[in-house]
Amino acid sequence: MFSVLDTRPVAPGVTRLEIAAPRVARFWKPGQFVIVRVDGEGERIPLTVVDADPAAGHITLIVQAVGYTTRRLSQVPTGGEIADVVGPLGRPSEIEAFGHVAVVGGGVGTAVAFPTARALQGAGNRVTVIVGARTAAHVILADEIRDAGCDLIVATEDGSAGVKGLVTGPLEELIEADIVDRVIAAGPIPMMRAVAETTRSGAIPTMVSLNPIMVDGTGMCGGCRVRVGGEMKFACVDGPDFDAHLVDFDGLARRNRTYLEFERAALEADMPMAAR
C-alpha cells in the first residue's frame, strides 16, 4: 500500500495528491509516468508524475476526475492509501540545450508539461510555457511555472485570464515574433493535433506526450499502440513522447474511445460495471 500524504483541490475537478512512493521518487525523470491502482479491485491507469522528492520518497500527481477511477483517486483523503503505484514508466523527455522551447499545456495536460518545462529551463534553455484552460479557475501550476524561471502565457476560452482563445493563438504569435527551436505539447488530443499543425509548416521540431489506454505499462499488453510515421509504437515503452508531426491522432482518438459507453455508465452510476 502507498500512503497519500496530502490531497488538495487545485482547480474545479482537479486534485493534487502527494504520495509516498520511494522507488518512483528515486528514479523518476521528467516525462515519465506511473500506473496507479486505487484499490484491490481497481483498474490500472497511467498518470504522469508532476514532481518527485527523492530524499523524502514522495511524488506528486495531479488528476482530473473524468471517469470512475480518476474520481475515486481524487477522493482518497490525506492519510488514506492507494493499492499500487508502479513506475517510473516510459522514456524520459529529451532534455537538451535546444535554445528557445515553447511548452504547451492544455488543461490538466499542464501537469504533464510542467516537469519537462522546468527541466529544460534547468538545462539552459529559454522556456515559454503556454497554459490553456477553460477559465481562470482552471489554470494550474502558474506559480510553479514562474518560480521555475519560465515565461508564462495563459490562454482561457472565456478570456477570464490571459488571452481569450485557444493555446494555438499565442503559439502562432510566439513563432512569428520570436525564434522557437522546439515545441512540446501535452493535453487533449485535439489540442495536441492543433499544435502539431501550427508548427508543421515551419518544421519546428515538436513533441507530444500521448495518453493512450494502457493496462500494464511495461510493453506487455500492446493496448497503447499508436501509429507514428506509419509504424506501430507502444506508448509505454517507446514513448510517451513522440514526434507530433508523425503521430496518427485520428487513430489515437478512436482507440481512446473504445470503452466510452462503459466509462459513461460507470461514472453515472458510480459503479464500475453499471453498464452490465
Binding site: E41, V86, M220, G222, V237, R276
Partner: protein, 475 residues
C-alpha cells in the same frame, strides 16, 4: 498391496480424468478438468511398469523423479510422493495442469510405444492437490548462507529459481512489475485451466520458505541490475519473460475491437473483466463473432475465454493444419467441445471496419508447401482465394517478442539481434558478471515448464558460484 506383473500392469487401461460437461463449463470460469479420484489415481499409478532406466525423466525439464513418485502413489504413500514432488518441482500443481506432457515425459513413456502412456501429468496434479489440501510436502530451508539474490520477474522461471535458492539457504527477493506475482500464471493462463487459488498456494509455499516478493517494481525502469548488484545482492537472476506482443502487420490492426492476446487475457485473468463489478472491461462480447489468430496455447485460451464471455461464435484461424498446432492437444480438444470452431489454413490479409470499429477480416486460403526450419511444412498462399468473414472482435495470439526494457537500460547485458538475452543454455550465465537469465527472455516464447527448467539450472549455477566464492574467501 499385491505386486503386479508387468503384463498385469500393461493390461490396465489408461484412466481418463473426469471433466465437466462442455455445455455447462462454457458458461463459467470454473476449472474444466476435475482431477483424478483416489481410485483412478491408484489404478493409473499401477500402470507404471517401473523401468530400470526410465526415459520419462529425460523428457522433464526439471527432472521430476517420475519413476519414484508414481510407485508411492500406487502404494498409497501420498505423503512420501508429495515430499518428493515438492523437492523436484517448485510448482507441481501448476505443471500437472499446464505442461504439454504429450511432448515431454509422456511422449517418452515406454507404454506409449504400444498403447497409451502413463498419465504422468494427471498423477502429478493429483499428488500436488492432495499435498495442498493436506498441508503436506512443505519445504524447509537449510541453514542460512548469508548470500542475497535478486530475482527479476515472478513468473515460472523466477519462482522456480527463487524456490531452489531459498531451499539452499540463500536469502531471495523477487521483484515483480505487476501488482500480483505469477507472471503468465497470473495474467495469461485462464482460471478454468489453472484456478487462482492453486497459483496462490504455490506462491505461499515460496513465501513460507522466506522468499520476499516485491510487487510494483519494474527493474530497469526503477533500480537497474547494477543498482541491485551494488545494493547488496550477490547475484541477479533475470526471468522477465517475453512480454511484447507481436501483431499481424496487416492493415486495420488499430481498429477498436482488435486486441493482442496478452491484453485480452490480462483484462480477464488479472483484472477480472469477467466478473460483475470489475473496473477493467473488455468490449461487450454478448452475441459477438470472435476471430482468434494463432494456433498455440494462448490462442486456445483466448478462444475459450471469448466463449465464456458470451460470444455467439468463436473461430480460431490458423495458417497451418490442426496436426501442426503447438497448443496442448487436450486443450484443443476441450476448446472444440466447447464450440470453438477451428478454421485451418487461412491467413489474414486485412482487418476491415467503419468509423474505426472492427467489422470483418479478409482471409486468404493457404496450402502446405515445403518444410521450413521448424520441420513443419510452410504455409503458402493460394492466389485469388480471398474471402471475407464478419467479426466483432479479433484477438492476435501469434507470440511475443522479448521485452526491451532491460536490454535498453543495461548496456552490458548482451542480447541477440532478435532481442533475447544471451545466456549459457546449461547454466543461464550471461556475459555480465553476477547475472544469470532464463525463460522466455532467453529462449523467446516457450512453455511454463521450459522456463522452470531454466530457472532451476540457473539456481544450481548461482549456488555453485556463490559456494565457490565462499571457498575462495575461506581458503
Amino acid at each position: 498391496m499385491k505386486e503386479l506383473s508387468t503384463r498385469e500392469r500393461m493390461q490396465i487401461p489408461r484412466q481418463a480424468m473426469p471433466v465437466r460437461d462442455p455445455a455447462e463449463r462454457r458458461r463459467d470460469f470454473e476449472e474444466v478438468a476435475l482431477g483424478l479420484t483416489p481410485e483412478l489415481a491408484e489404478r493409473e499409478a499401477m500402470r507404471c511398469i517401473l523401468c530400470k532406466r526410465p526415459p520419462c525423466i529425460e523428457g522433464c525439464p526439471v527432472r521430476v523423479r517420475i519413476d519414484q513418485f508414481i510407485p508411492l502413489v500406487a502404494s498409497g504413500d501420498l505423503a512420501g510422493a508429495a515430499r518428493m514432488l515438492a523437492e523436484d518441482n517448485a510448482l507441481p500443481a501448476v505443471c500437472g495442469r499446464v505442461c504439454p506432457q504429450e511432448t515431454q515425459c509422456e511422449e517418452l513413456c515406454v507404454l506409449g510405444r504400444k498403447g497409451l502412456p502413463v498419465a504422468i501429468g494427471a498423477l502429478e496434479r493429483y499428488v500436488a492437490d492432495w499435498a495442498r489440501e493436506h498441508g503436506a510436502g512443505r519445504q524447509a530451508p537449510t541453514a542460512p548462507t548469508g548470500h542475497r539474490i535478486a530475482v527479476v520477474g515472478a513468473g515460472p522461471a523466477g519462482l522456480t529459481c527463487a524456490s531452489d535458492l531459498a531451499r539452499l539457504g540463500h536469502e531471495v527477493t523477487i521483484f515483480e512489475a505487476l501488482h500480483e506475482p505469477g507472471g503468465v500464471l497470473a495474467y495469461g493462463i485462464p482460471r478454468f485451466r489453472l484456478p487462482r487459488d492453486i497459483v496462490g498456494a504455490e506462491i505461499r509455499a515460496l513465501t513460507d520458505l522466506g522468499v520476499e516478493i516485491v510487487t510494483d517494481a519494474v527493474i530497469g525502469m526503477a533500480e537497474s541490475i547494477d543498482d541491485l548488484l551494488a545494493g547488496g545482492y550477490d547475484a541477479v537472476f533475470v526471468g522477465v519473460g517475453a512480454g511484447l506482443p507481436r501483431f499481424l502487420d496487416v492493415p486495420g490492426e488499430d481498429l477498436v475491437g482488435v486486441y493482442s492476446a496478452n491484453e485480452f487475457l490480462t483484462r480477464v485473468n488479472l483484472m477480472k473483466a469477467h466478473q460483475a463489478g470489475a473496473a477493467t472491461p473488455v468490449i461487450d462480447l454478448d452475441g459477438a463473432r470472435v476471430a482468434v489468430f494463432g494456433g498455440g496455447n494462448t490462442a486456445v485460451d483466448a478462444a475459450r475465454t471469448a466463449v465464456r464471455l458470451g460470444a455467439a461464435e468463436v473461430a480460431m484461424l490458423y495458417r497451418r493444419t490442426r496436426a501442426e498446432m503447438p497448443a496442448r492437444a487436450e486443450e484443443v480438444e476441450h476448446a472444440l467441445e466447447e464450440g470453438v470452431l477451428l478454421t485451418e489454413q487461412v491467413a489474414p490479409v486485412e482487418l476491415t471496419g467503419t468509423d474505426g470499429r472492427l467489422e470483418g477480416v479478409r482471409l486468404l486460403r493457404m496450402e502446405q508447401g515445403e518444410p521450413d526450419e521448424s520441420g513443419r511444412r510452410r504455409p503458402v498462399e493460394i492466389p485469388g482465394s480471398e474471402f471475407d468473414l464478419p467479426i466483432d472482435l479479433a484477438v492476435v495470439a501469434i507470440g511475443n517478442a522479448p521485452n526491451p526494457i532491460l536490454r535498453r537500460t543495461t548496456a552490458d547485458l548482451e542480447h541477440t539481434k532478435w532481442g533475447t538475452l544471451v545466456a549459457d543454455p546449461d547454466t543461464g550465465e550471461t556475459r555480465k558478471p553476477g547475472v544469470w537469465a532464463g525463460g522466455d527472455i532467453v529462449t523467446g516464447g516457450a512453455t511454463v515448464i521450459l522456463a522452470m527448467g531454466a530457472g532451476r539450472r540457473a539456481a544450481q549455477a548461482i549456488h555453485r558460484h556463490l559456494t565457490a566464492k565462499n571457498d575462495l574467501e575461506a581458503g
